[in-house]
């Protein structure tokens, strides 16, 4: 293997001004010619942003990209394709009604007389690519009839058809079964053998060992390590990824847990077109006055737990119970009537309506309380929003669109609204993601305060420091399954939880 550098990214910096997140901070990233290079990191570490910059989807604030020692400008995916860079996205970009051949040639269709789509030539050309790389798949098949593994193969064929030399795969295994993963790895090995260079983004350390020659570890927008895969073990990678414990010290006075408020029993969630369940027989109990943390790397079922408990997605099998009563089939409307309070991870789209005023955002779940004969009692709405604004020290005029506020203030509005409801359980999902330290600490203090009030709290978070600082019980999800239920005591180390999160252990943990 030549160790000549194929790609060099130098001093890449990217700040997302909307939420003030420094996604990449002076990142240097090298890929050697003809290697499989893994990029690992927790979510929010900046992997995807770095790859989007490389593929021309995002423009960096500063930094340079060199391809085979020549500086290049990548303004768009078209530029990237021209330079021989192809990307397989985490979510496939295929048209189900079209055949494989039609999907592959889309955008560069062979034409007859300059205007008509030449279907035969398209099939021949795609067939040629399939033969050349030794795949076995019929280009005439409609994509809708393929398995997820085959769809991914179509995505790979798509970029090979465009003569890509450098292939980027963004979390290619997250939707695949074990056998499909194995097949994919064989494919990638073969592609490398014939001279392609591959970058693979992943959360799964076992896969790094299985497929890559070198690995770059990212954390909080920075590259923290670059290693030869042969010389590093999974535990070390796990430690590099999660980093040192940031000790948030909070007084969590012992509370004797009360009754079971919320319970998930054998919950299974399947999605059409996916071979693996998103949630696989998940069991979970939250008692009054207890904070239960759901930890895991994103893509392992955290978002799905949020959707299911928030009433926005129906479970395929299993039961949800509130105070011992079955709430499995209740809609979000009915759950709200039962007092559901819920701070969602996606605060900009689900948690708020950016063009509506702060006031209108504050009353979304309680607006029926302000009516007289169907008409709003404007004064009461105003008083309500003034009260929330002042008790959560939210800056700004409540009549202005919430989109004009900072991320921290938007989250405060959501928090104020959800805590105002008279509830006995509340869901927090990624409550401090992208927030500054002061806002995060404010939110932690609030979460502990409602725990003291005897409310059951479900905290879904991929931020381990946060989970360890706040939770009484810790549930770790890996590939949709609960791999550990741990009681959060002094001796529970971040490294241990990290190993469960990365799928390095599956002994069930010390049962709490």
């Amino acid at each position: 293997m030549s160790s000549e550098l194929y790609l060099q990214m130098r001093g890449i910096t990217k700040l997302y001004p909307e939420n003030n997140v420094l996604a990449n901070s002076n990142v240097d990233f090298d890929v050697r010619d003809n290697e499989i290079h893994a990029v690992v990191g927790e979510n929010g570490a900046g992997k995807t942003t770095l790859m989007k910059i490389l593929y021309g989807l995002v423009q960096p604030d500063s930094g340079r990209i060199l391809l085979q020692q020549r500086e290049v400008q990548i303004q768009s995916p078209l530029d990237a394709n021209r330079l021989g860079i192809g990307m397989v996205h985490q979510h496939f970009r295929l048209i189900p009604e079209f055949t494989i051949a039609e999907n592959v040639v889309l955008g560069t269709e062979p034409r007859r007389w300059g205007i008509f789509f030449d279907r035969d030539r398209a099939i021949n050309r795609v067939e040629e690519v399939i033969q050349r790389y030794g795949f076995t798949i019929n280009p005439r098949l409609p994509v809708a009839r393929l398995t997820v593994g085959q769809m991914q193969l179509v995505e790979i064929i798509k970029i090979l058809y465009r003569e890509a030399q450098l292939l980027i795969l963004d979390e290619p295994t997250s939707v695949l079964t074990e056998q499909q993963i194995h097949k994919l790895f064989v494919t990638l090995e073969n592609l490398r053998a014939i001279g392609k260079t591959i970058v693979i983004i992943t959360h799964k350390l076992g896969e790094v060992k299985a497929i890559s020659q070198r690995v770059t570890v990212m954390r909080k927008g920075e590259v923290v390590a670059v290693r030869d895969t042969a010389e590093v073990d999974e535990r070390e990678l796990s430690r590099l990824m999660v980093g040192k414990s940031v000790t948030f010290q909070f007084e969590r006075e012992p509370v004797k847990p009360g009754r079971v408020v919320l319970e998930l029993r054998e919950v299974v969630l399947r999605q059409k077109g996916q071979d693996r369940p998103l949630l696989d027989r998940v069991n979970l109990k939250v008692h009054a006055g207890e904070i239960v943390g759901v930890a895991g790397v994103s893509g392992n079922g955290l978002a799905e737990v949020e959707d299911v408990v928030g009433g926005l997605r129906r479970v395929t099998e299993g039961q949800l119970l509130h105070d011992g009563r079955d709430i499995t089939d209740l809609s979000a409307v009915q759950l709200r009537q039962r007092g559901l309070a819920y701070v969602p991870a996606d605060r900009l789209h689900r948690g708020s309506s950016l063009q509506s005023s702060v006031m209108e955002n504050m009353i979304i779940s309680s607006h029926h309380d302000f009516l007289r004969g169907g008409v709003f009692r404007q004064k009461e709405v105003e008083e309500f929003s003034e009260t929330l604004s002042s008790s959560f020290s939210i800056d700004g005029d409540p009549r202005m669109p919430i989109g004009t506020l900072s991320g921290g203030n938007i989250q405060k509005v959501i928090l104020a609204r959800e805590l105002a409801s008279n509830t006995d359980f509340i869901i927090f999902s990624e409550p401090t993601w992208g927030l500054d330290v002061a806002s995060a600490e404010f939110i932690y203090a609030k979460i502990l305060e409602i725990r003291r009030r005897g409310i059951a709290v479900l905290l879904i978070s991929s931020n381990l420091d946060e989970i360890l600082a706040l939770c009484d019980i810790l549930v770790v999800l890996y590939r949709g399954e609960v791999v550990a239920t741990l009681s959060n005591e002094e001796k529970l180390s971040k490294e241990l939880v990290g190993e469960y999160m990365m799928g390095l252990r599956d002994d069930g943990g010390t049962q709490a």
């Binding site: 809609s331 979000a332 409307v333 709200r336 948690g351 509506s356 979304i364 008409v375």
Partner: protein
């Protein structure tokens, strides 16, 4: 900082409309210079004509009335992010059903028949548009397509009744028998056709404004329109708010038809209402879907139309030339409004 930027954006939107208006008037003037032998007279009647006497002025306002109703109907739908493209058929069938009721009721029922006819026209539009909303809720059928198709089909059914069973052989036009005197709205600005329904139009604008901004239905419709995910999360029954805005939108269209018959036409002439539905969309877009903005926007539209008519009567401009000049202005303004509407929607997460 951010606040001033927002105000700036809003200002830019209005400024953009004014600039487009200026440009389109300029093009209209250039066209008139090219096409008319006496351009100055033509320009005078095109732009000032509607204000030269009571008859023109009143008729201009009268032409704005149905546009207020259809414009409001579109504004309610767009505010809720549902699309009612069936306005034409809803207006036309609303007019027919109202006419049929008035023709069928015995003379002895007196003035009472008026409200009944209005309600029937309103209900007809509501049912037609509501169907599209219902299909959307039930099977996810695109309401934009289904409302358009239903409306297109209904036009032929209405045509059949007007030219067939209801045709008045004594009338040289293809039209129904005339409705009874007791159903006709009071003219308030003779010699023009402007009638009492102008007051209804203003009331409707105020009422819809109140509905959208002061009641919980309005709040829920607007929230669903801006962000359905947020609304569902917050416990609003979002599927309801696909159907309800369609029903209200259809009702306003049906009402437009009934009011036009009772105020202006007194008989249902074949294809008399054509354009009221489509122009309602343009009116709503110019008004940026604000119910109160619909009132001046409708008058503006009627003004352009009246100007073209005046120019035709008083100068050498033919119908075709007047239509071309008028269309240039219509298209430019509608395009500008659609553009800013799309940009606004793009920013809004669906």
């Amino acid at each position: 900082m951010k606040r001033t930027r927002r105000v700036g954006e809003l200002f830019a939107g209005t400024l953009g409309l004014l600039i487009t208006l200026g440009i389109s008037f300029l093009i209209a003037i250039v066209l008139i210079f090219l096409l008319s032998k006496d351009p100055l007279t033509t320009i005078y009647y095109f732009f000032v004509g509607p204000f030269t006497n009571k008859y023109y002025f009143g008729n201009m306002l009268n032409a704005a009335i149905p546009l207020v109703f259809t414009g409001l109907g579109i504004a309610v739908a767009f505010k809720s992010s549902v699309f009612n493209l069936g306005g034409e058929g809803q207006v036309y069938s609303g007019a027919l059903v109202a006419t049929v009721i008035m023709l069928a009721l015995p003379e002895s029922s007196g003035y009472l028949g008026g409200p009944v006819a209005l309600a029937a026209g309103l209900a007809t539009g509501a049912v037609l548009a509501g169907l599209s909303g219902f299909f959307k809720m039930k099977w996810g059928t695109d309401e934009l397509i289904s409302s358009f198709l239903i409306s297109s089909a209904v036009v032929f059914i209405v045509n059949y009744f007007i030219t067939g069973p209801l045709d008045d052989p004594g009338n040289s036009m293809l039209a129904t028998y005339a409705i009874g005197k007791q159903y006709r709205f009071l003219a308030i600005f003779p010699p023009s056709k402007l009638d009492i329904s102008a007051v209804f139009a203003i009331l409707a604008g105020v009422l819809i404004f109140f509905l959208m901004y002061y009641t919980h239905w309005g709040y829920e419709m607007r929230m669903c329109g801006l962000n359905r995910e947020f609304s569902r999360y917050g416990g609003i029954n979002v599927s309801t708010f696909v159907v309800l805005p369609m029903i209200i939108s259809g009702a306003l269209h049906g009402l437009a038809g009934a009011v036009a018959i009772m105020g202006t036409y007194h008989v249902a002439v074949k294809e008399f209402s054509f354009g009221m539905g489509w122009n309602g969309i343009a009116v709503a877009l110019i008004a940026k879907n604000n119910p109160l903005g619909v009132l001046p926007a409708a008058v503006f539209f009627a003004y352009l139309d009246a100007g073209a008519k005046a120019a035709m009567l008083h100068s050498d401009v033919t119908f075709e030339i007047a239509a071309i000049v008028q269309s240039v202005i219509f298209y430019l303004i509608t395009a500008q409004a659609i553009y800013s509407f799309l940009r606004y929607r793009k920013r809004a997460p669906s």
